[in-house]
Symmetry: C2
Subunit: 320 residues, 2 copies
């Protein structure tokens, strides 16, 4: 199908066109790029929400409950699950499976699980592109669910405008992990399974960590801590409210434009890096590249001098 | 000090020269690059061992005990702690502090804690460079200790030839995290705090996960699971033995050369990407770059077409 047709259909709400585009993105098809270039200029309306947190924190159930709540508010909702252990990919418990079926049958909900194959950098790029497609297709909220708090997940949720970090009572190690790096990416903290003992204490610990985080002091947004019970849905309307306030705050403070700028910058750099790789391939070919690598491995050459020479040959730096 | 002098002194075991080089690396000093280029060709002898695992698993205590064991075997040992919560950086418990002092006073041990500031990609590069310096300085084993099991840590331990993943009995979430991605990077599993209840069960669960991991079947190395008690030192000699057998297996199977090739490749690509960034800066300057970013944010332009044009202007792709 010609690019212009797919773009047109996707924008008119054709789910098959959307599913097709997502598949093209996942397969890294050349056509995907042309489509995405056209879709980009039609987007910018969706609220992009990232969910992260440890395995077992109940993220997926919470995401489903949030999607239902947003549907009640008449929003169209896209869900991208970047988590091999997510119930969206199969292994759901009974309650989740029922919620899943309800959501999956709703024409105003689009759920896609993305396989965690290939490089994680590649996955972050694909996720961002699928967000772009859902945005251009008119979804009001696009939720990205990812597992864990490692840098890869941080990379993936960077595509989000609002980041929700999900934890559960008594996760001592979780708090440690939060200390180690996730604190600065959270816009909203959720203490899920709040019916368990220790929920108040976990919330209090988080509050203390947040107030110690001095950088926050100058920020216009005070990170809220919401207690939820994803199974019953308790706390979910409050989460939806806070997400809306966060978006409003991002807009009012100019932070939204700033974050979009950072995203555009890093995306263009990634695209230029692809062009760089192609240039290396066409300039020196795989055999010479292999010889250069071997010389570095055998320590007859060093990587710095070799890279400098390569940079000169592909015209990145002037000849000496 | 001239580059050649520093290189000479470092290779002759001058600790102050080594400390100086590490500082130059951490500060990203231009001289570091020249020094490292010369050091690279003198390296290749050290066994590089990565330690990773959840906070609280006792990694640091175990690393110290392993260092003591290797000293008993008359090895020179370098330790690089890439973990803000590591006792190497301050907050050690009493037993660790005594072991630390003993190690720190030994001229054949070099301990350096690396701050986790800046980008994580930058940290992985600095870690790799500090390993290079320790290798050229004649350390027999270089241990990299990092926290957690996120992609950043995986990136950091990729500099290692042998990766030890440390877990403790009953860490349910840990097993989940292992499932999610760390399984394939572990060369040795350690169940630390093996005096606690559940150690055998955790070891059995790990064994099952490993045997399910079909990819392993074709590999020459069968990942061992070692039970240790880092406080008493139990199991540590066995760990040292297994590390030595793993290195021997890597050499015999050709995997060592393969891994070195991958590392050389990714390092050269990273260096070329730096050259790319400089070229963009000198070709279009920060103001035009900012204008391009803004056009993408305002959706009057798309990132793909913009990056394509930039690639043409800096000579990465031919003009149309």
């Amino acid at each position: 199908m010609p690019t212009a047709d797919i773009v047109e259909r996707l924008r008119n709400g054709d789910r098959r066109a959307l599913a097709r585009v997502v598949t093209l993105i996942e397969n890294g098809a050349p056509q995907a790029r042309q489509i995405l270039a056209q879709l980009h200029v039609h987007g910018g309306r969706a609220h992009i929400v990232g969910f992260t947190g440890s395995p077992g924190a109940g993220k997926s159930t919470l995401v489903m409950q949030l999607a239902r709540e947003l549907r009640r508010r008449d929003q169209r909702v896209g869900i991208i699950a970047v988590d091999p252990s997510s119930p969206f990919t199969g292994g759901a418990i009974l309650g989740d499976r029922i919620r899943m079926q309800e959501l999956a049958g709703d024409p105003n909900v689009f759920i896609r699980s993305m396989a965690s194959r290939g490089s994680l950098g590649g996955l972050a790029a694909s996720t961002r592109d699928v967000v772009r497609a859902l945005d251009a297709a008119g979804f009001d909220t696009v939720i990205i669910e990812t597992v864990g708090a490692g840098q890869a997940e941080v990379e993936i949720v960077r595509a989000a405008q609002s980041v929700v970090v999900v934890t559960v009572p008594g996760m001592g190690d979780d708090i440690q992990a939060i200390k180690a790096g996730i604190l600065e990416i959270a816009d909203i903290f959720v203490v899920n399974k709040a019916d368990r003992p220790g929920a108040d204490q976990t919330a209090a610990e988080l509050r203390m960590l947040l107030s110690l985080d001095e950088q926050r002091k100058e920020r216009p947004w005070r990170v809220p801590i919401i207690k939820t019970n994803a199974t019953t849905g308790e706390g979910v309307p409050e989460l939806a409210d806070k997400l809306a306030s966060h978006l409003a705050s991002l807009r009012a403070s100019g932070t939204l434009a700033e974050r979009s700028g950072q995203q555009a910058r890093s995306e263009m750099l990634a695209l230029l890096q692809q062009a760089l790789l192609q240039k290396i391939e066409t300039t020196i070919g795989p055999e010479e590249w292999q010889r250069l690598v071997e010389a570095v491995v055998e320590r007859t050459a060093d990587p710095y001098t070799t890279a400098d020479e390569l940079a000169r040959r592909i015209g990145l730096t002037p000849a000496e």
